[in-house]
């Protein structure tokens, strides 16, 4: 199960709506081994595409170096689908390289840039196997 706080959830949804019709992407970092998505990092989609996303290679290195310095890892890796359902595509599965992460998919196909509900779903993707999991949105992450 993915447990995520309301503010981070809302920020991911807002990012997806803002970048529609292009795919939005980013991560939520958290302390290594904690499974706590604490620090949202919106990334630029270097592909700038409605059907593809990729972190810029320079941004990617900067992001990981910052996480290493903070003893963090990517707890959530998110991106949006803008015309299809919030389910990992074959490409998403083939390129999923963080076996410990929750892969969050948001679909903006229904309301685009406008207000309205979105599909927000989470998956584990390990060795090409996709397992959907429950998403629990809480007012705040529990105290440690």
């Amino acid at each position: 199960m993915l447990t995520i706080d309301q503010a981070t959830y809302d920020a991911i949804v807002a990012h997806a709506k803002r970048d529609h019709p292009d795919e939005a992407c980013g991560i939520v970092a958290g302390p290594e081994g904690s499974d706590r998505p604490e620090r949202l990092v919106e990334m630029v989609n270097a592909a700038g595409s409605p059907t593809f996303y990729e972190f810029d290679s320079t941004d990617l290195l900067a992001l990981y170096k910052q996480m290493w310095d903070n003893d963090e890892e990517p707890v959530v890796v998110y991106h949006s689908h803008t015309a299809t359902e919030a389910y990992p595509s074959t490409t998403d599965i083939g390129l999923a390289n963080e076996p410990g992460a929750h892969y969050v998919l948001v679909s903006t196909r229904e309301h685009g840039n406008n207000d309205g509900p979105v599909e927000f779903r989470s998956y584990r993707i390990v060795d090409g196997v996709v397992t959907e999991e429950e998403v629990s949105v809480v007012p705040a992450l529990p105290e440690i």
């Binding site: 593809f52 996303y53 990617l60 290195l61 490409t91 390129l95 390289n97």
Partner: protein, 96 residues
């Protein structure tokens, strides 16, 4: 000649869980061959054969001292003692 190579989570199965390993080589290509001799299988995750020529896989990023090797010669990029190499899989995907 020791070059520190930072290994991403997904490839640590080849390094007994080590986050970083030492290697040697005057070019990235030679370094990867050296890694392969100590960590069999890792080369295939980094390099693919394109019409008889080895190339860095499209969705693998390698950096030498923070520089993306694609801008400094890719597999032919030169290395020297003390260089820091980072391997990071692309974070990418898409609707298709």
């Amino acid at each position: 000649m020791a070059i520190e190579v930072r290994i991403p989570t997904i490839l640590r199965t080849y390094t007994d869980g080590e986050k970083a390993v030492d290697g040697s080589g005057a070019t990235l290509s030679a370094l990867i061959d050296d890694l392969e001799s100590n960590h069999p299988g890792i080369k295939d995750r980094l390099v693919e054969d394109k019409a008889g020529t080895p190339e860095l896989r499209r969705f693998v990023n390698v950096y030498i001292n923070d520089e993306d090797v694609r801008f400094i010669g890719s597999l032919d990029a030169e290395l020297s003692d003390g260089d820091q190499v980072v391997v990071l899989p692309a974070v990418a995907g898409g609707a298709r």
